[in-house]
């Protein structure tokens, strides 16, 4: 990390540049989600839009961490904290895997849909 005034002066240009890149990426994220011509995958929101949106967000987050938070110059021990923290966070998100391993099982009965309004049961032709 820059420590002398001269070095820091140089660094400031980099910070501005990164800020600009983050601005541009933000516009790209919004454009991908709102401009029909940039709609990936199926029409409207789908998994592809989620993947692209999260990828851009991850790139932005990495830039913030590396440059603004000076991780690119940081000591080893800091990386250890972060790796542990991120692993902890990811494992919590990984818990959502239970939704696939052990899904909620719905009954198969079709009769008596319960609170479905009787008014909606229209005559079959």
């Amino acid at each position: 990390m820059a420590d002398t005034p001269e070095e820091i002066k140089k660094e400031q240009k980099k910070y501005l540049l990164i800020g600009l890149i983050l601005f541009i990426f933000t516009i790209v994220t919004v454009a991908v989600a709102t401009v029909p011509a940039l709609d990936f995958g199926k029409h409207g929101f789908d998994a592809w839009d989620a993947i692209i949106g999260l990828c851009i967000a991850s790139v932005k987050a990495t830039l913030v961490a590396l440059i603004f938070m000076h991780l690119n110059h940081e000591k080893k021990s800091i990386y250890l904290f972060i790796v542990l923290g991120v692993l902890g966070g990811l494992s919590l998100i990984g818990l959502t895997g239970w939704a696939f391993i052990d899904p909620i099982e719905y009954g198969t009965a079709t009769e008596g849909t319960g609170f479905f309004s009787p008014e909606l049961v229209i005559e079959e032709e």
Partner: protein
């Protein structure tokens, strides 16, 4: 003792103390937000209702993203200024950072406010309508009248999302009665020239509450004599209550309702309960002692029958406690009950209503529609239910209440729906034209469920404009009539000139029995808003916390700067690290909550 490594780095780790601390803290924060993001994913995967994807207005979120990124740049500039020993420059950039935090919170506040003031209604057939609730008044017969801008209402207007109940008798739980609700009922009764007076029990002249054993409780003749004495002496409207014996209260028939009276009665109820408990405990204690003495070799479970307490044991010793007090309305008048007070659904023609503080009203439910100007009609859930029940969603939608003769505004909705269907038809044609069909002849891209089954506020305004100009979907000009991203900054704009002129947001009166759930866009409306408020609320608290710390450096650090500027630079670096983290979280929150 001086703490080492506040300014210089430790040789083995290469870090100063605060940096180790902040990184450990940030690691724990990653896990905290990781857990909440996990919760979001879970809720979304298993939502049993159509998830409100891309439901929030993008612009405030986008501006907030720019604001936070900008503040991340300025905070690092502030730190760099300290490193270069430029105090003025530090102050300048730090002030901008804190101003950014302020802008962020103001925008967040505007966004929250729009949610809290936006009404959503789920009908019993799963039609969802959103909009702005009207004000209304009721006349002396309890008839509902909407109040519009410029009207001169007779009576106090209320939000037209209430239950109107003509009460003959209201019973209050002494323990749970909620003062503001009682005050509201009292002022409504007064406004309608009615009185709430205590209702006596059969065969008495008033209500006696006994907090402790009064000697005549066991003796009916003595009690009657005492009652007669009291009636002679005290039965006047001014003397609400009078002590007879220790901690007892006499409430003559017709005593006006007040919270103070209920509070006094509660004290006596609690005292009576305490007295009875004491007597029962004493009797039980003696009984168990005796039983143990009679059967020294037996276990507790074998002698339990012998130690049982019976009504005969307590006869003449315990007092009768009253936990509710009933008041009659004379004459019976309609009361406006806020929907949030209601404990359980009140069916049409109900003779009784129960409030969450266990107050029970006996009387008759009046016509209590929920009247609103609708800015969105959403059939997605209905379509989902129809598909689950193996019905054609379009048929189910078109035979629903909103399009039926029972809805006095049905014609407007039919007209809008007709244009909506036409628009979707044209969209589908366009998608086939542009993306073609697959080998099986199915279109490669189709309209989304949201497009098909939901008419949002931008749709409604677009259709109204199209109707005015005689443009129909598919014509080039139709697309130009759509409101842009900058229209309606935090959501549907009911004050928009075009909306008002064209009456673009149609009226609706949802009958009481059709309202399955009514809510503002708060956590109770659905799990999406629950997790939205949790995530953004926690993030907002981080913004406030961060701004406070950075503000402290800005305002109270001149002394430290003079003594030891490097130390201050280290502090600002650590505060800045937290600030970048707050930005980093928002970088994920924005696309997840606003764009997906």
């Amino acid at each position: 003792m001086e703490i080492p490594y506040t300014v210089t780095a430790r040789k083995d780790t290469g870090l100063f103390n605060a940096k180790v601390g902040i990184w450990l803290f940030l690691a724990s924060e990653v896990m905290l937000f990781g857990g909440l993001f996990s919760g979001y994913v879970f809720l979304r995967i298993y939502a049993d209702y159509p998830w409100p994807e891309r439901a929030l207005p993008v612009l405030p979120g986008l501006i907030n993203t720019f604001v936070l990124i900008g503040s991340s740049v300025t905070v690092v500039f502030a730190w760099a200024a300290l490193k270069m020993r430029q105090w003025r420059r530090f102050q300048f950039f730090m002030a901008i950072t804190i101003a950014c935090a302020g802008i962020f919170m103001v925008l967040k506040g505007l966004e929250y406010n729009a949610k809290w003031n936006h009404q959503a209604v789920r009908m019993d057939d799963f039609t969802i309508v959103e909009g702005h609730t009207h004000k209304a008044v009721i006349d002396e017969h309890g008839h509902f009248h909407e109040v519009h801008e410029g009207d001169d209402p007779h009576g106090t207007p209320f939000k037209a999302n209430a239950v109107i109940f003509k009460a003959e008798r209201v019973s209050f739980s002494l323990v749970r009665a909620h003062e503001p609700w009682i005050d509201s009922m009292l002022s409504q009764a007064e406004e309608r020239h009615s009185k709430l007076g205590a209702q006596k029990q059969k065969g008495t002249t008033g209500i006696f509450l006994y907090g402790a054993l009064v000697d005549f409780e066991a003796d009916a003749d003595k009690r009657k004599a005492a009652e007669e004495d009291i009636v002679k002496e005290y039965q006047t409207a001014e003397k609400i209550a009078r002590k007879i014996g220790e901690r007892s209260l006499y409430i003559p028939d017709g005593t006006p309702l007040s919270y103070a009276l209920l509070k006094k009665a509660r004290e006596i109820f609690i005292a009576g309960r305490a007295h009875n408990a004491e007597i029962r405990t004493g009797i039980l204690r003696t009984k168990w002692k005796d039983a143990h003495a009679n059967h020294p070799d037996k276990g507790n479970w074998e002698i339990a029958d012998e130690a049982k307490i019976t009504p005969e044991d307590t006869a003449g010793q315990i007092v009768k406690v009253i936990s509710t007090l009933a008041f009659g309305m004379d004459p019976p008048v309609p009361l406006v009950l806020n929907r949030s007070w209601i404990k359980r659904p009140i069916p049409a023609k109900a003779k009784q209503a129960e409030l969450r503080d266990d107050t029970t009203l006996a009387g008759a439910l009046q016509d209590s529609p929920l009247a609103l100007a609708v800015d969105a009609v959403d059939f997605r859930w209905m379509a989902q239910k129809a598909i689950e029940a193996d019905k054609d969603p379009m048929k189910v939608i078109e035979s629903s209440w909103i399009f039926s003769d029972k809805n006095e505004h049905a014609a407007e909705y039919k007209k809008l729906w007709k244009m909506h269907k036409k628009r979707i038809e044209k969209l589908e044609e366009h998608l086939v034209e542009k993306y073609k069909r697959d080998k099986l002849g199915n279109p490669k891209r189709v309209s989304t469920e949201t497009e098909r089954y939901r008419m949002g506020w931008k749709d409604l305004l677009q259709y109204a404009k199209a109707g005015e100009e005689g443009v129909s979907p598919g014509e080039e000009k139709f697309d130009d009539l759509r409101p842009s991203m900058t229209d309606g900054f935090t959501g549907p704009d009911h004050k928009n000139a075009d909306v008002k002129r064209l009456h673009a947001f149609p009226e609706l009166k949802v009958p009481h029995e059709k309202v399955a759930m009514a809510s503002a866009f708060t956590p109770k409306w659905n799990t999406y808003y629950a997790i939205y408020f949790t995530l953004t609320g926690l993030h907002g608290l981080h913004v406030i916390g961060g701004a406070l710390v950075l503000g402290y450096y800005l305002l109270f650090s001149k002394g430290l700067y003079r003594r030891n500027p490097e130390w201050l630079a280290n502090r600002v670096e650590v505060g800045g690290l937290f600030w970048h983290f707050v930005d980093l979280i928002w970088i994920f929150l924005f696309p997840i909550l606003y764009l997906m």
